[in-house]
């Protein structure tokens, strides 16, 4: 086991996709109780023990957390030398035991099969409250309904949603942020020039400033681990919510007759109290794009303003989305905005089955 761990860390040292900071805290708990990571993600884990007790972190097969805790207890006197990790196929990966106020770096790879993988401290007596879940390619339910996190955190979430998020914000800036606002920051599942936009109504989206488009949107909290600015390490923000919209297909907007799409990001203007209206050039034509949330997290409205354009605009329809516009007409797999309406038009995007 040691040998394989060593091999893994040497390999991963060069290649971690993301860095995760996880703290063991007083009261037998981890500071983060869940995170979304795509299957196969190579993770650098900075495991920090803030507590006065020993702790480890063990990732186990879906549904086996309680069994692994029992197996760890059954190790008896062999426990300490095995770091309280049972040698069973239920265990996917584990850290060593960290003593009080120790810190260590590890590398692991999220299993390639989508699933909800529990992580737990298997030190005797800790596992019943000290655990959480890695959501690998599976959407997260709202925090207050999540059966894969400890009851205490679930209850906290339902009494005062996103307490954790608020606390992080206050500690980081000399002002309180009220949505809408944005951060330019390294984001998961997106290009390195990304913009995280927080909208009112607990909706956020990730805008890729290279590709001039929304890559995905999520509901729930905003971002955690934003203290990544303090470290000389590769870092990436972590979503504190559930992705409900993703679009990685071809660029949604097309000027009729120009299907070789060329984009150039030009910046943004903050309007109506902080909504970013993004500016870019689409095949040399200046486009402004402003996205606002629809009520009930059903989707968004996006208002486009296009200057000096005399051609119709084609918007590709998507299977999982209902895309409509009062200024346009649906024709086969596209929504067509007539040339004379392209100075300003609004489309509504509703996500099916949400």
């Amino acid at each position: 086991m040691c040998a394989s761990l060593l091999h893994q860390s040497v390999y991963a040292q060069q290649k971690a996709d993301t860095t995760l900071h996880l703290r063991a805290q007083e009261g037998l708990k981890f500071d983060l109780v869940r995170f979304a990571l795509p299957p196969g993600t190579k993770v650098k884990l900075v495991f920090i023990n803030d507590d006065d007790m020993d702790h480890n972190m063990v990732i186990v097969q879906p549904g086996t957390r309680e069994k692994v805790i029992q197996d760890a207890l059954a190790l008896g006197e062999k426990g300490p030398t095995l770091y309280y990790v049972p040698q069973t196929k239920d265990v996917i990966w584990s850290t060593q035991v960290l003593g009080p106020h120790q810190e260590a770096e590890y590398y692991f790879t999220v299993p390639s099969k989508a699933g909800i993988y529990p992580f737990v401290c298997t030190y005797p007596g800790h596992g019943m409250t000290m655990f959480g879940a890695i959501y690998a390619g599976i959407p997260m339910p709202p925090l207050q309904e999540d059966k894969h996190i400890p009851a205490q955190q679930r209850e906290q979430a339902s009494h005062g949603a996103h307490v954790h998020h608020q606390k992080v914000q206050e500690a980081l800036h000399p002002y309180t942020l009220e949505a809408p606002y944005l951060y330019r920051i390294f984001m998961p599942y997106s290009g390195p020039a990304s913009i995280a936009v927080r909208l009112p109504g607990e909706i956020s989206y990730c805008y890729d400033a290279e590709l001039c488009r929304i890559r995905y949107a999520w509901s729930g909290g905003f971002l955690s681990n934003m203290d990544l600015w303090k470290n000389k390490k590769d870092t990436c923000a972590i979503l504190e919510g559930e992705i409900f919209f993703e679009d990685n297909q071809k660029f949604p907007l097309e000027i009729e007759g120009m299907d070789d799409i060329q984009l150039k990001f030009k910046g943004y203007r903050l309007v109506d109290g902080g909504y970013p209206e993004f500016n870019y050039e689409l095949n040399g034509v200046a486009v402004s794009e402003l996205t606002r949330p629809l009520p009930d997290k059903r989707g968004f409205t996006t208002t486009y303003r296009i200057k000096n354009n005399n051609r119709p605009i084609k918007i590709s329809l998507r299977e999982n989305l209902v895309i409509t516009s009062r200024q346009g007409k649906t024709k086969r797999s596209s929504l067509i905005i007539p040339a004379k309406k392209t100075r300003e038009f609004t489309i509504e995007t509703i996500i099916k089955n949400i």
Partner: protein
């Protein structure tokens, strides 16, 4: 190693404060600037607006104004991705660099906050590696902006999505080698007024500081590490290569594979040597922004000279440049040590009254947080004003007449000469350390200039002078007792 420690020990004591025999008010005093609660004051950028407000950028994305009169802080913009340098346009517009781009932020509706953010250029690669910091912009007289692009660190890797053409052809999987796998990491770039971003000079590792001298020459500091024996200050000229090989991969027409695998002598023959070497552990370990004193005397006697921040010690460094044989070279010495100054001096700016402000940062390295102001008290310092190469030695010019009983004694000059190796290894020891003898001394009639003749003067070496006991004719101790001259070319 022990030998070095013993030798270096005296330099690490801060001896500028008045001596017992001569208690005088210091020439420079340091004030702490109060910061708003909740701000993690890791300063990334610092400058002054034409109306006298300080504008400061921070690692966590804030760009804020400080009114020195009311001591009030206001937010100009937030959510920026490590804004590492400003170019103030006017009272409502600031250009800055951040991770993804050069941005022009303007307050167009007059509420004091930026509402329009225009991307001036994003025409360079980013891998997401933590060390790919971007520096600048600084502006030349023709209106070109210059930015510096840090290489990627072997302490991290690249993201699954990168911007720019990913090409691992120049990458060498060796530990401790900064890499450049997207264009143009490790380059200084020129952004023309028309918005075109052009590669300008290569060979940089971590150029955390760009600036001009008082003649309009562009300079950049770099940080000791692989291929950089000790931290340098480079006179940056178009087309030149400054020593760190990774960036060469993006040179037009490059067909030599991984540049870091070329023979060292070949790389050495291509490179332009540093104008100034900051001896590691003696002058600076991590120099930052160069800033020329254009206060015309408001900040004391060093008008026209260049100051450079230092991260690892509570110090600001002073640089004395001269042109010899068509190339810039010169000396560096401490400007201010201690006196309440913190470490981490990452960004410098002069206010309209001629006070020097310094913004501090640590970001996981040695350093500190916060903003301080350095005021000239009007008490002239006894210090080295200038150091110039002569055919046989150096002229040392002082701000006050020297005490001739000390300055006239050759034994009072402790001079060493050494060189730093150009190699792939992280940093360099001092090689061929020699003790140098003074063979002749001339003191000028006004007592302010000493002409020193040495028994040896060899190019490509550092000449380090220690003047421990020097004082003025009136008895004021020399404020800074060590000065290091980077001798690239001899004077005929």
């Amino acid at each position: 190693m022990l030998k070095y420690c013993l030798i270096l020990l005296p330099f690490l004591t801060f001896a500028q404060s008045g001596s017992n025999e001569n208690p005088v008010k210091p020439s420079y005093e340091v004030d702490n600037i109060e910061l708003p609660a909740g701000l993690s004051a890791q300063v990334t950028a610092l400058d002054f607006m034409p109306d006298g407000r300080l504008v400061a950028g921070f690692s966590s994305g804030e760009i804020m104004f400080y009114h020195p009169d009311t001591k009030k802080w206001d937010v100009f913009a937030h959510g920026m991705h490590e804004p590492l340098g400003f170019q103030v346009v006017n009272n409502t517009t600031v250009i800055y660099i951040q991770r993804p781009e050069v941005t022009r932020a303007s307050d167009t509706d007059g509420d004091g906050k930026a509402d329009l953010f225009e991307t001036l250029t994003d025409d360079f690669g980013i891998t997401g590696n933590f060390h790919e910091y971007n520096y600048g912009p600084v502006k030349d007289q023709e209106g070109n902006l210059f930015i510096g692009l840090n290489g990627g660190s072997p302490g991290g890797w690249i993201r699954s999505e990168v911007r720019g053409k990913l090409d691992l052809g120049g990458y060498i999987p060796l530990p401790k080698q900064m890499f450049s796998v997207v264009p143009y990491r490790g380059w200084i770039m020129k952004l023309t007024p028309e918005g075109k971003l052009l590669p300008f000079a290569s060979g940089f590792r971590s150029p955390n500081g760009l600036g001009f001298d008082n003649k309009g020459n562009l300079y950049a500091t770099d940080n000791q590490g692989d291929w950089i024996g000790t931290s340098p200050l480079h006179h940056v000229q178009e087309g030149n290569f400054y020593g760190h090989p990774s960036s060469l991969y993006w040179r037009e027409g490059w067909e030599k594979g991984p540049p870091g695998l070329l023979p060292v002598h070949e790389l050495d023959s291509m490179r332009t040597k540093a104008a100034i070497l900051f001896p590691h552990g003696i002058i600076a370990n991590s120099p930052t922004q160069p800033l020329t004193d254009l206060t015309e005397g408001k900040f004391g006697p060093f008008a026209g000279q260049m100051l450079v921040g230092e991260m690892n010690s509570p110090r600001i460094v002073r640089v004395l440049l001269e042109e010899v044989g068509g190339q810039m070279q010169g000396a560096c010495l401490p400007f201010l040590d201690g006196h309440g100054l913190r470490k981490g001096n990452n960004r410098l700016a002069f206010d309209p009254d001629g006070n020097l402000w310094t913004g501090q940062n640590d970001h996981g390295w040695a350093g500190d947080k916060g903003i301080q102001r350095i005021r000239y008290t009007g008490v002239p310092p006894m210090d080295i004003l200038n150091m110039n190469l002569t055919p046989k030695g150096f002229d040392l010019e002082f701000t006050e007449p020297v005490d001739p009983t000390i300055a006239g004694n050759p034994e009072e000059y402790k001079i060493r000469s050494y060189y730093y190796e150009y190699h792939s290894k992280y940093g360099s020891d001092q090689f061929d350390v020699q003790n140098i003898q003074v063979t002749d001394l001339q003191i000028s009639a006004d007592g302010k200039k000493v002409s020193v003749t040495l028994n040896q003067l060899i190019p490509d070496r550092v000449y380090e002078f220690r003047l421990e006991n020097f004082k003025s004719a009136r008895g004021t101790l020399l404020a800074n007792k060590i000065i290091c001259y980077t001798l690239n070319r001899l004077k005929n």
